[in-house]
Symmetry: C2
Subunit: 434 residues, 2 copies
């Protein structure tokens, strides 16, 4: 059995798919905040400008991928492989055909490299020579890789808690030549003030962004660009390359259409990238593909949130999104990357229209599924991706119960080699429970 | 530029290449030890019998790969990709065309999975239901993966020093469902005696093997098989799949023949796997391909050793090999996997005939090359593989100096995601030196 569907690099998609013109209506627009500095101005002062154009209901359905970007995609392992999970199928005794896309084969270990490469090419065109991230993990790897690839500088503000608990990531940034800063830091006035009051401050996205803005303000001539990892509309445009590859790979495997695509979701950027190229057919009534987003219990805006105008990254204007709102002491879960209290604009809209099917899982549900998967398929998923694995296994069991030979696709957004501490913590925890 | 040469799974080689009939003379045979239990008997009591057949100057040039083995190879990511290192070429400003084979794409992160899958299939045929390893790292991953793949049990004796310093590997064994034992252990009388005298004993291959033999002796009916990782003649047979793939990939890339193949070498099993399929052409005078083995300074039997009958794994009979002999306090190096004081039989023979070109590098030489590589190519090599990287870079520089557009192939035997501690240790060390 051909159980890996490779797409040769020459068949890498030549254009990204922009879903906006195919939606039944324009997306709800951004709104500026009522007090404080204009977020529109703030965005323009740090983002790559060409990216912002795409966030504003851009009209073209197909956006040509620049040659430098395609070349870098290929060097970073695209198209990524699509595996058939036939060993898992046997274990589950399901008539379903399970496929999984392996985004962990990239040099940075996750799909985040897509968006960073894409933004970096435009950043360079716009004359910037330094890329800056605020991150707890994979986004930093993607950014540092993109910077190294295009001969640019990289600066990473990493939340102190993540810096201390993820030595593998810190190392990776440094291997790639980046300037890595544990935030709050003594590099900025904002950071110094926090450290004075609280030397053990664990950092946060808010603090890191304030430090970053200070760095931008200090540039006499702007030469840096801030790159977002995943959820903005332009990030999602880039990430459709995953779904476009998947479409071709399913054809090569002789499948007409997937019955269901399952992915994990924090803000939903990754989920959008794999699903969007299949959404139009569903909207047009040509297919009945289901699009499942698996969230973490306690961090499931698409399940438990409210759809309304709200603040997300405190750098963007307000947007109509699913949000859990302000919470005191939100839960800590093993998959840090899923700890996001809101959805991005596109997936939120699709959720409101019933195109996204959302569910949430507890760690107790996810972990046994992850171990079952690793023993059957071998490849270790990132902690975040174990939620997709659990969702896919549930779909396969349902197919068995209903006696349907469904086609199930699971997107494995990254590998779990850097998640040793998380997995081990769980094994220790499980021992303690006995 | 097509910078990754994928070979579709259907083109995976159908047979392994056995070099023995193509050598100018039979390999020097094994000899039993003069005192103590017969090593030939010892081997038969723990190894897979079919493997031992191949160690005895087996005559057939091509050995059909069983269907179950091919299927498992494909599931484990074979054929592995061959990348063109054109970013590295630019940095080095070399006319050479550098290719690198990425064995780290397997679910266990290294080429060791090849030999384990291959042995496991035969072990199962011979009726065994448990696989046992004595290991410090990647061999355990390969064995546990093979066991999980074929529904067998896995038992790993891991040297205490490695158990304590490589939490990622321990976790990986456990994720795959193995019984992981820190050796010396309280599971065996041998282990208990050592722990009584020295509770902090760091373990060794010798101790682990004694514990393993005790486990075998306790089986009323033998149901376990001991799998070696890499260097035995049968391991090397299996590993030729790397070189056979490489041959097809170079053809696809439009290259006639490689001018030089560079690999790291501990005992030389990995080096043999990638090089042997090209050796016959060189022996016949049809090509002038050079085969470079890069060893670690302090652990370079092919450079500094003597070619003579000697003891290697204290389970095998004596063999004619390059050996550094007994040493007090051998040096510790960052790449633990290269800390082997002898060469395997086949590569030792080829070294004695001048087919293998051997060199050694210090950490100081290797580390800067590794960082240069990571920044250019993105993929993080295992610490062991950085020696191959250094060797390949040196060849590319030489090609520049001599103005030759040579074809250089580097074998990257594994990824470095589990080598965080080693890489970080070096960064810290470098800081201290400033």
């Amino acid at each position: 059995m051909e159980d890996i569907v490779y797409l040769p690099p020459k068949d890498l998609p030549e254009a990204w798919y922009n879903v906006l013109p195919d939606l039944p209506e324009p997306l709800p627009p951004w709104k500026d905040v009522e007090s404080g500095p204009s977020r529109f101005e703030l965005m323009k002062s740090v983002y790559v400008n060409k990216c912002l154009e795409y966030d504003e209901n851009y009209k073209e359905r197909w956006v040509l991928i620049p040659e430098a970007t395609r070349e870098a995609y290929i060097h970073a392992g695209r198209p990524t492989p699509l595996n058939r999970a036939w060993r898992m199928e046997k274990v589950l005794d399901t008539p379903a055909r399970i496929y999984y896309k392996r985004e962990g084969t990239s040099p940075t270990g996750s799909y985040k490299v897509i968006s960073n490469i894409s933004q970096a090419v435009w950043a360079k065109e716009e004359g910037y020579d330094r890329l800056i991230a605020c991150t707890a993990g994979t986004q930093g790897s993607g950014l540092c890789y993109a910077a190294a690839t295009f001969g640019m500088k990289a600066m990473v503000f990493m939340f102190a808690s993540a810096y201390d608990s993820r030595p593998g990531r810190v190392l990776h940034y440094k291997q790639l030549g980046a300037d890595v800063i544990r935030s709050p830091s003594d590099r900025t006035e904002f950071g110094r003030k926090i450290l004075e009051k609280d030397p053990n401050n664990k950092g946060s996205l808010f603090i890191a962004l304030q430090e970053l803005l200070e760095v931008f303000r200090e540039e006499e001539v702007r030469h840096s660009a801030y790159l977002m990892g995943s959820g903005n509309t332009h990030n999602i445009l880039f990430q459709t390359v995953m779904g476009l590859e998947l479409k071709k790979q399913l054809e090569l495997a002789g499948e007409n259409e997937p019955d269901v695509i399952v992915d994990c979701a924090a803000a939903g950027g990754n989920w959008s990238g794999i699903c969007l190229p299949f959404v139009k057919d569903r909207l047009d009534g040509r297919t009945r593909t289901r699009f499942v987003a698996c969230q973490a219990d306690g961090w499931a805006p698409f399940v438990d949130g409210e759809y309304k105008y709200a603040d997300m990254v405190p750098m963007n204007p307000l947007a109509k999104i699913y949000t859990l709102g302000e919470r005191e002491n939100p839960p800590q879960i093993w998959a840090q990357g899923l700890q996001v209290p809101w959805g991005a604009i596109i997936p939120s809209y699709l959720r409101s229209k019933g195109i996204m099917e959302a569910r949430k899982y507890s760690e107790e549900e996810v972990v046994p599924a992850a171990f079952q998967w690793i023993r059957a398929e071998g490849y270790i998923p990132a902690l975040e991706a174990t939620y997709a694995v659990k969702g896919g296994i549930d779909e396969a069991i349902r197919a068995r119960e209903e006696g349907k030979a469904r086609v199930i696709v699971i997107n494995i957004s990254g590998h779990g080699y850097y998640d040793v501490a998380g997995y081990r913590g769980y094994i220790e925890m499980a021992k303690g429970r006995k």
